[in-house]
């Protein structure tokens, strides 16, 4: 079966870790697997930041070349998705951050590293965090935005 991969989300001041999240909905609340109907983002505002990372377990020798990007899903007016990679965990904030736009094509080199900062994961464990935030402006039209497709790619032996 080789490596087993799960997405993990961290929340709160003291960092509550949830492995194997079932969704990564952005909303106006700092919690995993949130319901967007309960916690919508009002236009002109940003979502709470999401601190995600990958968790690898199972039988493998090496995981490397880990890349994350947005591969599909057009933005509506005034909408953007920000991302920062290899960041340290901090309590998620709803204040719009100044991170770069999430890559919209496969990066030329890996943008996610092992938890220890190295290029490869050689034992079960996590990657470093990547931070995502959905930002909108007053010009963003009301209603749900377009579905986004995010791609995670990694090499394994």
């Amino acid at each position: 079966m080789a490596a087993t991969h799960q997405f993990s989300e961290s929340n709160g001041a003291g960092e509550t870790v949830t492995d194997g999240i079932s969704n990564a909905n952005f909303g106006n609340n700092d919690s995993p697997n949130l319901n967007t109907t309960t916690y919508p983002i009002t236009r002109g505002n940003a979502s709470f930041e999401k601190y995600h990372r990958s968790k690898f377990s199972g039988t493998f020798t090496e995981i490397s070349n880990i890349k994350f990007w947005k591969s599909a899903g057009a933005y509506v007016t005034g909408e953007s998705c920000k991302a920062a990679f290899d960041v340290a965990y901090a309590q998620p904030s709803q204040t719009p951050n100044a991170d770069s736009d999430v890559p919209v094509a496969e990066p030329g080199t890996h943008n996610v590293h092992a938890a220890d900062g190295s290029d490869t994961i050689v034992a079960p464990g996590y990657t470093k965090y990547w931070r995502l935030q959905l930002q909108t402006t007053d010009s963003t039209p009301a209603g749900a935005v377009n579905t986004k497709t995010f791609t995670l790619q990694y090499d394994e032996v």
Binding site: H5, N23, I41, G143, V145
Partner: protein, 149 residues
């Protein structure tokens, strides 16, 4: 008046079964398989004996498709026939195996895991006249392949 992005990543997204497993053959006649007696061996066992590796195969579940790298002669064989005319026949030095699996996981809002594709990269690199060369097959889960890095 809300804007939401509703992105489902894969909850408990376990690794799906591999379409191909590996089998390594060594100069002393010993063989290490990825799966032996219900236990999965790490590829590290092969890496530990890289200098003794003479053949390395990827085999699908019903044994109908087998890709083999012949590290003594620098050939790649399909179903034990040298059907893959990868390069002109030439003397190669310092032939080394190239092997890894590339996972591409796509996630969207409605689907926990929109897709999870695995491409097997299998090939060899060698030296001719002090220059490095390599050939890599990209093999999908159906056993279709292209040649390319």
């Amino acid at each position: 008046m809300s804007n939401t992005i509703d992105l489902n990543l894969s909850g408990g997204n376990t690794m799906k079964p591999l379409a191909f497993s590996w089998k390594a053959f060594f100069v002393d006649g010993s063989i290490i398989e990825q799966y032996e007696n219900g236990i999965e061996n790490k590829f590290q066992l092969v890496k530990d004996k890289f200098d003794q590796l003479v053949r390395f195969s990827l085999v699908n579940k019903d044994y109908s498709k087998c890709f083999t790298v012949d590290l003594k002669n620098g050939f790649i064989l399909y179903n034990n026939y040298r059907d893959i005319k990868l390069t002109k026949v030439e003397y190669k030095e310092n032939i080394r195996l190239i092997f890894f699996r590339r996972h591409t996981v796509e996630m969207t809002e409605q689907m926990i895991e929109k897709s999870h594709k695995i491409i097997y990269f299998l090939g060899l690199q060698w030296i001719v006249n002090n220059q490095n060369h390599s050939i890599i097959l990209q093999i999908n889960e159906n056993g279709d392949f292209i040649i390319g890095n």
